[in-house]
Assembly symmetry: C4
Homo-oligomer: 218 residues x 4
């Protein structure tokens, strides 16, 4: 919260603390709101209804991992920033707009699964497009920060490196899955889960942990 | 969170950290709550219902940009404050009261669009008055901070300057749109979107970026 | 977030930063959740339904001002603390339990007004008891902090002084209004609003501002 | 928020501030969302419906104390950390996934109580498994932090010590109560409350307060 003593006289750059806090708030609420749409599916015995509600759990997991991974990457991005400027704040808001929107396509998926191919197709596509736009906006934030020299000195956060390395594959995977959703929508939902899990597991870091870093940091 | 060593002995002024955190919480939650009211509109095919739900998307966008821009301006305002006093805390609460209220008029708009002119007129006016009061209270906070010398030394945040420059036009635009809402309520909703987008785009800064600042901060 | 270099070796005391953040989160959500229960009241013309919903607005205002004032006092209390201990953290949780519960009695009030005296009486009493318990727990937190020496050196925050001065009157007023609620429940609701406004307006500070401090802080 | 001057060159470790803020957001929201499911139970007189809603209050209390105690322990854990690494961030996300999920089993309990043994058994087991998994993930976070040397020098936070001491008993109690839930589900719910209260009351610290520390910290 304290301002640097060598702050630029133009004040075109501002402190990043509140942008992080607001982003944490929006992402934290969006990720928690997802639980509201989990509900049992009558008719049937208690256990039957509980099991029949699997689309709710699936959608909860996909969206939770998606927002969670995006949060980790966002953390890595802002961790490496020295300050932010008004354009970056607005890019961040657009990015949050898609995050806060995600509970709606999630609900579409929950309601569509098992209700017929037409509903599943709509849900799979809207869901995928939202995920894709979220990724693209996040990537735009990173590119803008690099171009405008907003980053602090030193190497990038490992989570940000991981996110950047995976970015190309993820965009291709989302576009592919959206197209797949036209033909086999319920399969596409499982692909979104696979992508979310792929994003969540830090393969590079796990490997480094297992083979190289284990005991070094005390 | 740390208190200045040269804090005034009267302690009439307090740290601004928690006011920012609480405001971020309320604004972040209000902006995320908006998604709850997005819903498909039966009857019809999946795609038809999805398209018919356009008033939900429109209202979501308007309210998101409105709260988002207000948050940016609030960030700019508190960024320039050294401390806050009890009166400022209460002005801020009144301001948050209107922000937290916004999901209700937003819902009114969603439910009204396409339901008849009577509903649309009510929604357009309640929505506009809420937006107007939010702006007026925000402006009162800025005026109070200036009058009581709560601001830190140095120029204002560029977002705050932008907000102040636009303030007069925005108030006129809101009043005009509220009056327009009496006659053409559904048109008024689109005007609110136009105002929100106008507030969101930092015209002055974009121009400066394009012509002057581009490579300097490196 | 940084720990003092002269931290006590026993570590029985911990940093207050996260307790403030968590409390801000819970109070911020609770205050924003209140809007969910605002709804129009069919049947009738749009304007008629809007006006008929006045119990929603009333309950929103009372609860918003109540939580808002409690937040201001909480801010004043923790502002004056140096550190917190495990017992204080738990007192704070009990206090947050009543804050997070408040949307339920608020909903009771909204649904009860105009539905008959039996409903109004129940709502007025449950509401009043919740408000009273919130105040008592807050007062217990302050008393514990004083008794255990958790406070930093220096005088108290003006908002905390204000809250403490008003405390006795507020408890009496709540008890009186709860009793009044047995006989005239709908009148009691307006009394709760009056108490909330009384708590919100910093009479002492306003007087000081008008007569003494006006121009001094530059 | 400020980075240490002696940050490791590998940057494999990152600042913990945002992880705490995000966790506070998710836990604060989850704990506040619980109130949404509290509702009166028609038919009957106002007071009768209010009393009949006791399962709502019970589930609210159990879940509030459970999340509250987990938050206190989480606070104690991160308070003792110097930094976090990407794996820890992901463990924390998995932990938050179960916390954000808790409102669903809570709702199951509310709806099940009094609706027949089949529903109560399902609710008691799903609830208990969620609580157990939350505890196990929390314990995994602590174990990982110890193994990787993420902790700061100095003894552990008293709340974390308390949580660790109670851990074995709590796991046994949860497993036992889940098994009990197969036979006597409605009794199991009260056991969950007893466990939550056991976790909430800091027996060791209360004893220390009463007999040893009372006046020393002044």
């Amino acid at each position: 919260m304290a301002t640097d003593e060598n702050a630029p006289p133009s004040r075109a750059l501002t402190d990043k603390g509140r942008m992080e806090a607001f982003s944490d708030g929006v992402m934290g609420f969006a990720i928690t709101l997802l639980v509201i749409d989990i509900a049992l599916r009558p008719p049937g015995s208690p256990l039957h209804q509980f099991v029949q509600a699997w689309p709710s759990y699936l959608a909860y997991l996909v969206s939770f991992f998606t927002i969670g991974t995006v949060w980790i990457a966002h953390n890595g991005l802002t961790d490496g920033l020295e300050r932010v400027d008004p354009i970056f704040l607005r890019l961040n808001l657009l990015f949050l707009l898609t995050i806060a929107f995600l509970p709606f396509p999630t609900r579409l998926v929950v309601e569509a699964l098992g209700r017929g191919t037409g509903w599943e197709r709509l849900a799979a596509i809207v869901y995928g497009v939202t995920l894709l736009v979220t990724r693209l906006l996040f990537s735009a934030m990173g590119a803008y920060a690099r171009r405008m020299g907003l980053r602090a000195a030193g190497g990038d956060d490992p989570d940000l490196q991981e996110a950047r390395k995976k970015f190309r594959y993820v965009v291709i995977a989302y576009v592919g899955t959206i197209l797949l959703g036209l033909a086999l929508p319920s399969v596409a939902i499982f692909f979104y889960l696979a992508i979310a899990v792929y994003l969540f597991v830090p393969f590079g870091l796990v490997a480094r942990d297992l083979f190289g870093r284990g005991g070094s940091p005390r």
